[in-house]
Amino acid sequence: MNICASELNFTFPGKRTSLLRDVNFTWKQGQVVVLQGKNGVGKSTLTRIICKALPDDYETCISGCLCLDCVQADHLSADQPAAHESRDEAKKAESARVNLLTIGRRQSAQYISALFPDPDLQILTPDTESELAFGLEQQGIPVNRMNDMINEIISELSLKPLRYRNPRLCSGGEKQLILFAAILLMNRPFLILDEALAMIDNSRIDKVKEMIARHKRASAGLLLIDHQGRFDDIADEVWSLKEGHLTLQSRCQMRELK
């Protein structure tokens, strides 16, 4: 599966200049993309368009094409019920591309999940364990398997002391770790992390990167925004947004970054 944008434009209501101008990209499953750009250039607006997180009345402000191409649906990992489900969905859509600009939020959430900078807005449940179980239950994963998966990710990210705590009453970095774990367990083909890991301390960032890389190998597509540049070294592509235009950094520019 690919997410493709062509000639994507966006202008906020009442504004003269467009925030996004003729944006083109192809974001593939199994690809880590780092999106760079200064404060206020529209990175988050772009990610919000992709995952349908903008208010409905902004729909008229968008023009161009944003589609999900399902040609490579068979590459989805087959060992998990969720993958089957989304593969079936994807197969249905195989002939017709899915227009991401017109589908509903629920359908969009089958393909793309996203985390934004403010964890307080995304915590759903009153304890960490339920927060982690939420996505697994949605996928219909059997209870035994679910417990194993939760135990595994809790030990991997050293979240044991937080397991029965209320995520809302945790520290900033702890909240982001819990949501990161939860979104990985949701197991969607595309994942957006928009400054959602900024509060995580350096002692755990290598672990987080390792998990991102593993997720990618399990054929997820990831789109990351991070002002500290902490994920540049695991990027397959670096996109840069400037004055409305999105450009792909060349390979040698990327090497310089590393």
Binding site: N39, D120, S171, E174, A198, H227
Partner: protein
């Protein structure tokens, strides 16, 4: 000077697991002190205690010799400015410009001079383009800059900044860096809570490192 004497703090929901226990230390108000440490070790809690927004379970905190227990919050707030880790929690107004002006409008101390100061700060923090924008629609980095601008309206003696560089691009980092340098020249110090090691090394005269057990001073680059 801020003095902590044998301070213990635990959140009511976890009263048996204190975040800070028997902590005694002095903080100079005229230098930049860094506070580093892993997630969940209690850095934000420490900052909130200094602001009087949380009260120690045991022990005392003195600000320039006065026990915080005896100081009303607004008095502490007029001396110390606090940038929250999540800036959204401290934005109240409907527009950027009102975020700077509303305390003055409320107290009816709004004046030509106040407006000029607001204009200057909005320019300094590069927020003068969209002054009628709703603060909640800004990006994290922009929200941080806005809160900083609002804090500077009062020109507090001391600043506590909780993860100030999060979400800031290189240019905004530079603006923040300049602000810090300028304030230190005026001997107005600050506490910089941060995971951003290069930024801490660049600006702090002294660095405190917090872990699950205690707080200790660590060697520093500057």
């Amino acid at each position: 000077m801020i003095q902590l004497q044998n301070v213990t703090f635990a959140y009511p929901s976890h009263i048996q697991q204190p975040v800070l226990s028997h902590l005694s230390l002095n903080l100079r108000l005229d230098i930049c002190t860094g506070l580093i440490g892993r997630n969940g070790t209690g850095k934000t809690t420490f900052g909130l205690l200094l602001m009087g927004l949380l009260q120690p379970v045991d022990g005392n905190i003195y600000l320039n010799g006065k026990n915080l227990k005896d100081s009303p919050l607004h008095q502490i707030g007029s001396q110390i400015g606090y940038l929250f880790q999540n800036p959204r929690q401290q934005l109240f107004a409907d527009t950027i410009i009102d975020e700077l002006l509303f305390p003055f409008t409320l107290q009816q101390t709004d004046s030509c001079e106040v407006r000029k100061r607001a204009d200057r700060l909005l320019t300094l923090f590069q927020l003068d383009q969209n002054r009628n924008t709703n603060p909640l629609s800004l990006s994290t980095g922009e929200q941080k800059r806005l809160v900083l601008a609002a804090l500077m309206m009062n020109d507090p003696d001391y600043l506590i900044l909780d993860e100030p560089t999060n979400g800031l691009d290189q240019e905004s980092r530079g603006i923040l860096g300049n602000l810090i340098t300028e304030r230190i020249m005026m001997e107005k110090g600050l506490l910089l809570i941060s995971h951003d090691q290069p930024f801490v090394n660049q600006h702090c005269h002294s660095v405190l490192s917090m872990n699950e057990k205690n707080v200790r001073e660590v060697a520093c680059a500057t």
